[in-house]
Each structure stands twice: as structure tokens, then as C-alpha cells.
Symmetry: C2
Subunit: 370 residues, 2 copies
């Protein structure tokens, strides 16, 4: 609901709210109850109880009453081994969300331009708006490639917004959420080469697709990579994300973060989960296999077009009314996601569940779409 300042009673404290905040709608994820939760790109696999117990074994001896390490030293050491970059090139935050926000505060903030090729992850636009940045949304486009319809960048359109005088910030979600796949690599590199500012490459879904810019940072010191423990590592509830970049860039993020941004529990949980590489690899191969199977199944459903995915979710174009499909799935206990973007008005997004969940999804979709 839009509130206009003139309509606010003189006695209401709302009159003290910033104009640009007054207009915003709060981001509130669905609280629908369901049997199978496929709306938020989470992993369907909880952390196994034996790993939970190892986390607890460490936690119970820690002091809850003291503020915990503000620079996440132990976790950065573990991440250094996992990613192959130096600890000083790593910054840890409270989920990918905080990383995105801190990048905006350090490199954009009031009045600077933030370029966002969209549809994409909605936090970029929301946080940049709250920061008072000048948000520039440039539409991504549907293209034919190798006989398939894919979503890609329109580099010519994007470059029209590049300035050579004032530094800017650009977000590239790679692979892109909610469309599901990588943008063309040459186009991404062309944009990076021509940009006068920081390029934040969001690799939240890295472990499902494998492409990364972390090994090319010496060529692109103005690139910051964003990663998360919320997807393949099954720690969405714990809020841990990290950034990888040039040491000098990483140092700036410490200036804008909250002093104790990552809780004791979250730091320890992330350190412990990184020791579980067998579990991790096993989970990873389960996902890759399930993705292939789910894709094959989806391709047999009439009136449903599935876009390629290098993530743990699929975006599908529907010939039937997508709100109807969403509701019918929900009635049957499956929660999926309708995106608000105009370009996605006929699409539905759902993440990859367990093989059993995927079979149920497929059978309901067949039923609803027939």
C-alpha cells in the first residue's frame, strides 16, 4: 500500500520516515505451510545429526557471554583451504545478504549508480534503494542458443549506462537467480573489461555449476565474488556468506560491516561443516543426478518449457495460468515460487528436492498441466 506524505496525520510518527522507505514494501517470504518446501532455493538435506553433534560438541565449550571473533579468523582459514585464495582475500558476513549490503555501502551508497541486469535476485535492488543509491535496472533478454531458448545479457543496452567519470557498482548473478543458468561468459568478461567500478559476481550457486571468477581475480581486481553457506552447505538457517576479492577491496568491507556481524554459533557451524568434505561431495553428486532426472521428467510435460539450469532450481514457462498451477500445487502440499517481474509472469520457479520429492512434484505437475 502506497502512503503519501500529505495523508499522514500530524500526530503520527510515520511522518519521520524517509520518503524512499515509506514507499517500500517489506520483503516477507511466504509463510504458507506445506509438506514439500521448494520456494526458497534451499537444500532439502538437513545437516546430518552426527555433524550437528560435532558442531554442538565445540559450541558447548565456547563462551556464549563474550562477543565472538569480529574478523572470523578460523573460518577464513578454513575457507582459504576450500577456495584456494588467501585468508586476507576473504570477508565473512551474515549470509550472502549481508555481503551484498556491505558491498553496496562500501562502493555505492547515496547517489552512486548501481547497475542491475534483471530479472535477478531481488536483494540487490532492495538494499541499493535503502542505501539511497541510484538503481539502474537493465532487462536481460531471451535468446536462441544451440536450438534452446536461454536468458542472456544485453551488453549493448547495459553499456549505455556505463559512465567513465563516476565510479559505479554492478551486480551479475552467475548463474542467475531466478532464470537458472550462466550468462554467456564472453559477454560477462566484456562488461567487466569496460566497467568503471566494482563488479559483484554473485556465485551463490557455484557448487551446482562450477564456473567461478575466484581464480581470475589477479586479472580483474575490481571483481568481488559473493558466496554462501545457505545452498549446498545446508546452513540457510545460520546465516553465513562470504566475499572473495582483492585484499584492498576486502579491507573496505570491514569499515561498513556491523562490528560483530557473524554470531559464534554460525562461525563454528561453518568451520565444522567445511571439515565434512565427504558429505559435501556426496550431496553435490546427489544434486547433479537429481537435476538431470527432474529435467528429463519436466521435458515430457505438455505446456511446460524448462530453462537450462546450473543451479539447484528450475524456472519453467507455463502455457496454463501460472497462479492456478501455483495454487494447485500448494493444495497438494508443494510450495513453489511466483516471481513478481513482468518478464516472468508466465513462469514458476521451484528448487530441486530429494528424488522422492521430485517424483511427487512431477506427478502433480503432469496432472495439473494435462
Amino acid at each position: 500500500m502506497l502512503i503519501f506524505r500529505e495523508e499522514i496525520a500530524i500526530t503520527s510518527p510515520i511522518r519521520f520516515v524517509r520518503d524512499d522507505i515509506l514507499k517500500l514494501t517489506p520483503y516477507m517470504p511466504s509463510k504458507e505451510s506445506c509438506d514439500i518446501k521448494l520456494d526458497a532455493n534451499e537444500s532439502p538435506y538437513d545437516v546430518p545429526i552426527e555433524i550437528k553433534e560435532r558442531i554442538w560438541k565445540r559450541l558447548q565449550d565456547e563462551h556464549f557471554n563474550y562477543y565472538y571473533d569480529p574478523s572470523c579468523d578460523e573460518l577464513r582459514e578454513s575457507l582459504s583451504r576450500y577456495t584456494g585464495v588467501k585468508p586476507d582475500q576473504i570477508f565473512v558476513g551474515s549470509g550472502g545478504d549481508e555481503i551484498i549490503n556491505d558491498i553496496i555501502m562500501a562502493f555505492a551508497g547515496p547517489d552512486r549508480d548501481v547497475i542491475i541486469p534483471a530479472p535477478t535476485f531481488s536483494s540487490y535492488e532492495i538494499f541499493a534503494t535503502v542505501a539511497g543509491s541510484n538503481v539502474i535496472i537493465t532487462p536481460i533478454v531471451r535468446e536462441q542458443k544451440y536450438g534452446k531458448e536461454i536468458w542472456d545479457l544485453n551488453t549493448q543496452q547495459i553499456k549505455k549506462h556505463f559512465t567513465k567519470d563516476e565510479p559505479q557498482l554492478m551486480f551479475l548473478c552467475y548463474p542467475n537467480n531466478p532464470t537458472g543458468d550462466y550468462f554467456d561468459e564472453e559477454k560477462v568478461i566484456d562488461l567487466i573489461n569496460n566497467f568503471n567500478g566494482i563488479v559483484a559476481v554473485d556465485e551463490a550457486y557455484f557448487e551446482f555449476g562450477g564456473k567461478t571468477f575466484t581464480d581470475r581475480l589477479s586479472d580483474y581486481p575490481h571483481v568481488i565474488v559473493i558466496r554462501t553457506f545457505s545452498k549446498i552447505f545446508s546452513l540457510a538457517g545460520l546465516r553465513v556468506g562470504y566475499a572473495i576479492g582483492h585484499e584492498d577491496i576486502i579491507k573496505q568491507l570491514y569499515k561498513v560491516k556491523l562490528p560483530y556481524n557473524v554470531s559464534l554459533f554460525s562461525q563454528i557451524a561453518a568451520v565444522e561443516i567445511l571439515k565434512e568434505m565427504d558429505w559435501f561431495k556426496n550431496t553435490q553428486s546427489k544434486f547433479i543426478k537429481a537435476r538431470e532426472q527432474l529435467k528429463k521428467g519436466l521435458e515430457t510435460i505438455n505446456g511446460l518449457k524448462v530453462y537450462p539450469s546450473s543451479t539447484n532450481f528450475f524456472l519453467c514457462e507455463l502455457e496454463k495460468c501460472r497462479d492456478m498451477v501455483y495454487e494447485e500445487l500448494l493444495k497438494r502440499g508443494i510450495l513453489t515460487r511466483c516471481l513478481g517481474d513482468d518478464a516472468l509472469k508466465n513462469t514458476l520457479r521451484f528448487c530441486i528436492g530429494t528424488p522422492e520429492q521430485n517424483e511427487i512434484l512431477l506427478s502433480y505437475l503432469r496432472e495439473i498441466m494435462s
Copy 2:
């Protein structure tokens, strides 16, 4: 170290940093190792192991892999019982720090004035600077009251900065950190009555002093109270804080917060600790008793003047060089805090430890000050 933009090499990615961020020094708490940690106003009492185990009993059955409640419903219900206000008047964040930051983003942000009577808690100034707000620092003053020297507000000076056209934001730390006691209540109310904006009353130390504005919010709908689990509740490592205010004001904070700002572990830990009211009351009375005893001891030390405290720490004025006293205490294993403010250049701040820790502190202080 100050870096000037002209000195930055054209190849360095630092040239993309915001000017006002480039100038900032990151807030990095002391990492000195010590036997007795009295520098950060934490509780010396860890959460007892039986309460830790009750927290874990709940946690092990929760899904680590799903994002957890973005509106902290269960915790707001518990807090409603603890504080006596309605759940809709409560907003939960990742420590008092996030609450402060969200208040700044909703009600100040780029170019609006943030008035901060100081010396006070440093986060107000840091976060307001990062937000691009216009920070107005107004000095608090030393006054004689009932034959004692105290720190109080200079309302005349502060009011000179009040505008009647543009809304503003003002922080009042009540009781004030690092000076330790409440400002005069009539002065606070006079400022609140005359201010055209939001007054954020930081009650982080409420449980050590007992005064609050939460029961006067119907008179002052433009007041937001800030509280924390980091002090008396011994959960500093877990990052949970909350705001209490008018429902319409509280709603705005949901627009600027990170979507999943408080982790699963932290929400559950706070819910469980609020069930432990016997432990809480026992801890509270231990603090009150220890504060009296420590104060009596401090008053017998020559060359040391102790300011009144309604918190869990003391600020002391020293006749000897305070950096020397700090270093001598550190050599003996006790970590205290030197504040950077000019007005506090002869002072040392330390929090109240266990009775045993306080005795050790007193004996070392006697030795060093003699």
C-alpha cells in the same frame, strides 16, 4: 591511516571506494589475550551448561537447511511477556548494533541529521557516517550534583541543532555508555518533547538500572527503545537485540532489515534464555551486589575518581597516566578499555566481573595507583 584519492594508483581497485568510507578506520575490538576480560561490558557469567543443553535440545530438531522465521514470531511473543508491550511493538535484530543501523536507515539515511550527545556508544556515529547521514556531535558535560561529579546533557546546546522543518534522528544512550549513568530524566523528557524526529533511547543496560521508556510510549510515539541480549542475558556471542516502539514505527524497520536477519540458533537461544527467570534474577542481584562492593573498593583508591554507575561497568578518572595504568593492568592479565574521546583522555573503563575478579582488579589498581 588517511588515504587521499589523488594518491591512489590508477590500477588500484581502491579508487572505486566511496570517499567517506575511504577515510574511515574499521572498528576492531581488542584481541589482546588476558585472564580477566573487562573491556567490552560483557557479563562474566557464561550461560550455565544445563541451560545450554536445553537450547541444544531444541536446536538439534530444527532444520539447519531452511531459512528461519524472518519476523521472529516466537521470540517476539516471549519478549512481549518479558517487557509488557504487544508483539507488534517489538522488532528483533542481530544484536543492538543491527537495531541501531536499521533505525538509521529507516529514519535518517543520506543527508538527514543525526544528533548524538557524546562521548557515547561509538556505533551511532560510525553507522550514521556509513549511511551518509549528517552527523552532529554535541558534547555532554561534567556537572556537580548532590556533591558528586556526574556527566549530563547540555540541552541548550543540543536544541540549537533542532530543526522544525526537516525530520531528524537523535540517539540518547540511557544509561550512557561509557560514562555509566543516566542523564537527568527531566532533561531527557525536555529534549523528547521538543524534537522534530525519532528519538532512539538505547536501554542496552536497562536490567542494571531499571529506568525505561517502554511504559511511556503512548505519550511519546516518536521514541524507539533499543534493548539487547548481550549484557545481562549473557548472549553477546549470539547477536540478538530488539527495538520497542509504536507499531507504525516498528513496521518501517521491516523494510530496511536484511530478510533473514536473526539466525535460527540465535532466535532459539533467546527464546530459551527468557524461560530462565530464576537464573536471570539471581544474576541480576549478583551484579547489583558486586557493583556496590566494587564501588566501595574503588573509592578507597588514591588518585582515582569513580563516576556513578547504573550499568555493569565503571568509568574512572585517573590522576596517573591512564595508558600506563591500562598497560600495567594488562601485564597482570586484566584487559580494560581506554576510550578515544578527548573528554575521556584521563579515564579508564572496565566492567564488573565476578566478585573474585573484582577483588583482583582492586588489588592491582591499589598497587599501580600507589
